[in-house]
Amino acid sequence: MRLLLTIARKDFTLLLRDKAAVLVLIAMPLALVFILGSALGNLESGDFGIKVAIVNEDAGEVGGYIVEGLVQAEQIEDLFDIAVLDDAAEARRDVERGDLVAALVIPGDTSARVGARRPVTLEVLQDPGSPLGSGVWVGVVKAAVSYASSDLVLGQALAAELSGDAVAPGAPPSAPPSTGLPERTGIRVTNAEAETERSVSMISYFSAAMTAMFLLFGSMFGAFAFVKERREQTLARMLASPANRIQIVGGKGLGILFIGIAQFVVLVAGTTVLFRVDWGESMPAILLLGATGALAATGLAMTLAALGKTERAIGGIAPALIMLFAATGGSMIPVDQLPGWLKPLQVISPTYWTLDGFLDVMQGSTFVDIAPKAGAVALIAVLLYAFGMWRLSYE
């Protein structure tokens, strides 16, 4: 045990001497979380300013109501920067070039068709380069127009029922349709967030996700240290000392584990202070997950050192493996949006279990609740470690 600790202390001290490397290990992940928070912060504030346009070619009243309803809707004023244009061809060109994310075109015969009780279809031109923003605009226009349809149906149906006659085609609507976003209270839709004590904000989700991912990046340092010592023959020399292979590999692993835990503590503290991320009430549970995540990084370092003969090879393999673990584990896209065929593969991703555990704790789970998930990460760590030990070349 003493030998093991000595080797671990040696590796940790070597790293601490390289102040710039320490800075990179600690400060860079924090910088990345900051970038992420800045990039996606608007998802919560709703402040997008997505550039869209409305072209009203309708000579009658209905087109005007639709324009007015959308332009004046307070719910969407931060979301969209709405321009009212006269020329559909110009709007189409702007959408084609990506200068506009989407444009609603209200056809010239809208009022006439509504008056004649014939269905009318409004067209939303969408920029193929902005699928998300244009999709949101289509959704908003659909919602606004469904209220207009509702008013028209209400007027027609009441007129028909109360007069006892079928509605005559060509008769004008009883009242102009409203196109704002009023509540229809007959049937309400109420949403509850998944049965948790607390909800997880987007920035909290990605803070947890990035932390789970960056714990694994620590493995690269461990693998590099191995390769360097192998190249410089110090590993072979250590084997000639009273230390056996398990003590050498264990000691080096312990050094990587220390680095991972230090990274983790800084990330949790940094995100809490900078972004007010609420990591939940069970700090022991968070620490357990952080420790098992760092353990997985240790196992991965062994596997990488076994797979890669040179630093360059590890530099190619490691980010690839880590990104794959991160992508399947939900660090890049929330897990529920991942394709179904991928979900069975998540069980082999330490990032998946670590992130899942973090989210559980953020939502109120306790140490005992997340213990099985931490156990899954520990099991993956052991398997990676065992593979590394099996395949590792010391000379």
Partner: protein, 391 residues
């Protein structure tokens, strides 16, 4: 001189080819991630959203909610038990579940009904499904409002009959409908075919993973410095300029090889329109490769050790990929962050590639992004070469 430059560049390719695992990682991973992200974000190619629905009422009205949800082509609706639906959301198998509680039908007739949803707060799907459920509620509220007035005014007229009569006015299409149409410069493409939904992820991961290749190449320079082979090369009749040009050319060649594989696979396997505007794509990608090679050389010149470099490389790459729109389309970030994207090489590469691949624009669309990238390359390569130490 040229022969030496080519020999040095070739050496870089040889070193890479001797590491099959690295080659596989640099090629297979971007392809795998394109599949994952394409399936997650791409509207046209992604799987349908699995939507568990709990119908505890089994009335005419609850059946209508289920039927209207089933009509949405993007949903895969399954009627399940309350326990299964709750567990599915809790386990993140789906972003949202719909619950139609017992007594829903009676509540519709009394004018105070409720459809409940249970959602994951981080799910984008949940927002999309909620909008559809809200639309169904508006439609049904309209029928219920009509039926309520009519059944009170004409007692002989049953609520359900009046409801169904009013609801029929939404068929076959609502009075005012909305259709989205993706606009592309079809006069250039000529086939009017919409760009593949994988376009964003294929372009994004090509841009992202090119950085790993260039950083790997620049890391090799650092490795040679640490091993002393750079110093040894200097005692040969090879001067620094040739050495650096050869190393940079090697990185550019490796990155070009990676681009070729990724774009061919993107086109063949994922239907991404790579190659439709070959010159424009080649121009923007070449300028981008130069820019990130410059960045990698600069970072390798600034850091002192391989440890520092390997720590900084993935984080700089990932950060630039996020800022530049490789992970997600820039249209969902704030105007400020869109401006920040224009200060990054990844941002300009994505702007140019999106114009060419998704919007079907030609050479003129990549002129500005290419120039910006060349400027970036000139600055970073110039600084990097100046600061690079050989010993």
């Amino acid at each position: 001189m040229m022969r030496r430059v080519i020999a040095l560049a070739w050496l870089n390719l040889l070193q890479l080819s001797r590491n099959p695992s690295e080659v596989v990682a640099l090629i297979a991973l971007p392809i795998a991630l394109t599949m994952v992200f394409g399936a997650s974000f791409a509207g046209s190619t992604r799987e349908r959203i699995w939507l568990p629905v709990v119908d505890e009422d089994s009335s005419t009205y609850s059946a209508q909610v289920v039927r209207l949800l089933e009509r949405e082509r993007s949903f895969d609706v399954e009627v399940v038990s309350r326990e299964r639906a709750t567990a599915a959301v809790a386990d993140q198998q789906t972003g949202l579940a719909v619950f139609i509680p017992r007594g829903f039908g009676e509540a519709v007739e009394s004018g105070d009904a409720e459809i409940r949803t249970l959602s994951l707060p981080t799910s984008n799907d949940a927002a999309a499904v909620s909008a559809v459920v809200q639309g169904i509620a508006v439609r049904m509220s309209t029928g219920a409002a009509v039926a309520g007035v009519v059944s009170r005014a004409i007692p002989a007229r049953a609520f359900e009959e009046a409801y169904l009569s009013a609801d029929a006015l939404w068929e076959p299409r609502p009075p005012i409908a909305v259709e989205g149409q993706t606009v592309i410069a079809s006069e250039v493409r000529g086939d009017g075919v919409q760009a593949s939904g994988n376009t964003q992820s294929s372009a994004g991961f090509t841009v992202f993973f090119l950085m790993f290749v260039t950083f790997g190449g620049a890391g090799a320079i650092l490795e040679e410095r640490e091993q002393g082979t750079l110093r040894r090369l200097l005692v040969t009749p090879t001067d620094k300029a040739v050495l650096i040009t050869g190393k940079v050319a090697g990185i550019v060649m490796t990155a070009t090889a990676q681009v070729l594989v990724l774009t061919v696979v993107g086109r063949v396997a994922f239907g991404v329109p790579w190659g439709n505007h070959f010159l424009a794509e080649a121009a923007i990608l070449f300028c981008y490769i130069l820019a990130i090679t410059g960045l990698a050389v600069l970072v390798s010149a600034v850091v002192r050790s391989r440890d520092q470099f390997s720590g900084a490389g993935p984080i700089i790459s990932t950060g630039l990929a996020m800022l530049g729109g490789s992970y997600w389309s820039l249209d969902i970030v704030s105007p400020f962050m869109q401006a920040v994207a224009r200060a990054t090489p990844t941002g300009w590469a994505m702007i140019g590639l999106t114009d060419v691949l998704a919007r079907n624009q030609g050479l003129e669309a990549v002129a500005l992004p290419s120039l910006m990238l060349l400027g970036f390359a000139a600055v970073t390569l110039g600084l990097g070469v100046k600061l690079l130490r050989f010993e």
